[in-house]
Symmetry: C2
Subunit: 467 residues, 2 copies
């Protein structure tokens, strides 16, 4: 359906087909016109055929007032699901206009991990009101979950899991699933706990189905547990779940007392978030940019790192001004500033991104860093030599009367590439060792540093050997 | 366990604890020593306590001969799981040394989608032999799956799904699950098909558990289907599954005939693969670099885009050489080459990465491109003006005797930033429109282009207004 239907068909589908509809520009325009004339009934008619994720995608693209109106006509259940999928800045604007009581109703519909995310974004007095008026049991759990940092296992776990005691039978476990089936969206496993809430095993719904109802769960449960403690970073949780192909992972404290569980859908979001974060660092964005951001906000997100580049390269300008007399005599040296900067910079970025990627996928262990650096050194030397020989050949063709200069240019080029590669490789390791985000090393900071070091090396070589 | 235990504890765990062990340098070293003395029994003892994903992580780090030995002592079932997790180049080396008959045995253990991946990597005559000697039914399915491109929905789907006819009851569906429970690892849904194999609904294991065994599956199934056709790109599959929070998605042909299903664990791999691919483009790597790559291979992966940078910037050098006389007179102009190049380049990269990211997450529709470009233009103009004013202030402090020059420098700086941003934003859109990977725009190619255009604009301004 997503590919094969023509545009004409799609409009018809809104009315006739029960399958989920992919939203597009046309549907967005239709909805915008209907909002303008406040055609609530027709809008709800369209929304009824859309998945809540698509309604959110539409609302993300509307003007603030239209977005508020569209959200306001949704029933509480749909509103809760749409809210989760909205861009953060749109969500903030919409929530500002809703009464705390309505927010409570919406939050009551959510699983505890999602409810916690929403509550944590609210202004304190609104959050307090919501926590007081929402379902009591949920409120206690949300307060508990609010204690953990947002990007830790505790911050993304949910308290909505199905468990049985170790004395239970398969039949008991199935009964327990039935009890929670409506309330919990994702049930893949039943956890087996001792009377002190300690996790001792796990069994899949699949194995409950294929085993005799009278069997003890302890006889069919899997005891090779893979779990995390609440302080584990969400990126590590994602790595573990990906590595072991898990759809759900339990979170326990140091005594193995069960605290919650994390499901794969949240981890898919984490993987995306972390990839976005890496990209953001590489692009030199100070915060994540969302599609619905205003151009003032985009400007504010992008300027800080552009200033880092500006100030760094102004230092470079002052450095160069010290070589003024030499540069007037050897103006040819200035022609190769771009070569030195760009190729040096690219070598450094290549090394940095490979390191950062290795750390963030878990494929690279910090204990292997030295071995890796040795490899980087040889790669840099080899590439530096190859590139320098080509550089020499080409420049000799164009500037054959300046043999001395181009020999020194080519030699310093190798040194620059080795320096830049090693800086690109070392900085992520150092950042990682000190607990900082290694991805910072891929951004404008290191490129600027490499420009300064590269030009210094180049000009020093020329001063010593040519000028 | 992953965080709280000390190193000492970990070594003990190998023998005493049944929980899964995280591998580290120490375990790797122990295993290396045991391989050296071919201590097969002790090795198998350690492997028995490791998850197959961890055994693969160890083997990825061994020398080729050691890796082959470690793999050879595994039983067929473990070998099949380990094989899937190995780096591609290690897998290739290991498979080269194994008889086609043993490969058949290993492939027989795999689900059809994984079996297809392995067979597609084999040399043709080995693949033919494996397809002939493996389980007949699986062989037919694998041959069918081999027809689809590797990165399409067809290429990542599996034929191992549970289905019932529309006449079936809940009890029948449970019976069907029992029949396949051993063979299929991931069972979350049962698909409901007509006698012509057309997909008409889906029901989760959870709803089978909570409904009466005598009920018809058609009365409990979900008819709001979300599915893909086999030619859909795997990145789009990942976007759809992420958007709608799916753990499994059916693949059907244009007549809705069921062909297979894709599970979330494969999609998590796709998300990682696509993020790695984007990173690889940004870093200017010609292929993906794996941790186990030799330094010759790494050099070969990195050199092509470094050459693009080298040749592009050499064109820049020739361009600059045309301005030789002017540059000797105004050597101060050369001091600001780094500022022009670096800040222009960063502005372009910021715009390009935001566009590429928007396309790859599906947050940005191609139909919104013009609106986005208008926004980019205003962002660029605003940032250009802000940065130029700061540039003017600082340079005026240091070079106040060159007022004419620094006015022109600041003016051209704004123009360069606007140009670079727009090029960074437009090229991904053009690439996307023509079906190419927009991420190419984030690499050295566009940076080099921006350097050439930036310096041209700058020098043209100086020639006209100052020199």
């Amino acid at each position: 359906m997503f590919k094969s239907k023509s545009k004409k068909d799609k409009t018809k589908e809104i009315i006739t087909v029960r399958d989920v509809i992919q939203v597009d520009r046309e549907i967005l325009d239709n909805i915008s016109s209907l909002i303008e004339i406040k055609a609530e009934k027709s809008l709800l008619n369209i929304f009824a055929d859309l998945h809540t994720a698509d309604i959110a995608e539409i609302i993300n693209r509307l003007d603030t007032e239209d977005a508020k109106y569209a959200f306001s006509i949704l029933n509480t259940e749909d509103a809760s699901e749409v809210l989760l999928e909205l861009d953060e800045n749109i969500r903030e604007k919409i929530l500002k206009d809703i009464t705390p009581d309505k927010i409570s109703d919406i939050v009551d519909e959510l699983e505890t991990d999602d409810a916690t995310d929403i509550v944590s974004e609210l202004p304190e007095h609104v959050a307090d009101h919501v926590l007081k008026t929402m379902d009591k049991e949920d409120s206690i759990e949300v307060k508990e979950l609010l204690k953990y940092p947002e990007d830790s296992a505790g911050g993304i776990m949910s308290s909505d899991y199905v468990y049985v005691l170790n004395s239970a039978t398969v039949k008991d476990a199935i009964k327990e699933i039935r009890k929670h089936a409506d309330e919990y969206e994702h049930i893949y496993y039943v956890y087996v706990l001792t009377s002190e809430d300690k996790l001792i095993g796990v069994t899949s719904i699949k194995s409950l189905l294929i085993n005799e109802p009278s069997k003890k769960v302890t006889s069919i449960m899997d005891e090779d547990l893979i779990y995390v403690t609440p302080e584990v970073d969400q990126e590590e949780v994602a790595q573990i779940m990906e590595k072991y192909d898990l759809v759900s992972i339990p979170v326990v404290d140091s005594d193995k007392v069960m605290l919650g569980r994390i499901t794969i859908d949240d981890v898919v979001d984490v993987i995306h978030e972390e990839a976005s974060e890496d990209m953001q660092r590489i692009a030199g964005l100070s915060e994540e940019q969302e599609q619905s951001d205003s151009f003032f906000r985009i400007s504010r997100i992008r300027l800080p790192w552009l200033f880092v580049g500006l100030f760094g390269e102004l230092m470079n300008a002052l450095l160069l001004s010290n070589y003024q007399d030499m540069l007037i005599k050897f103006v040819i040296a200035t022609f190769f500033f771009p070569v030195i900067m760009a190729v040096g910079g690219s070598s450094g970025t290549q090394a940095a991104i490979v390191m950062v990627r290795g750390f963030s996928t878990g494929d690279l262990w910090i204990s292997e860093s030295l071995k890796k650096l040795a490899k980087e050194f040889f790669v840099a030397l080899l590439n530096g030599l190859v590139l320098s020989i080509v550089l020499f050949g080409i420049t000799y063709y164009f500037f054959s009367d300046q043999l001395n200069f181009i020999i020194i240019l080519s030699l310093s080029f190798t040194v620059v590439i080795v320096f830049a590669t090693m800086i690109g490789a070392i900085i992520p390791i150092v950042l990682k060792k000190f607990g900082a985000d290694p991805a910072i090393a891929t951004g404008p900071f290191v490129t600027t540093l490499n420009d300064i070091i590269g030009l210094s090396v180049y000009l020093t070589f020329i001063t010593i050997f040519v000028a």
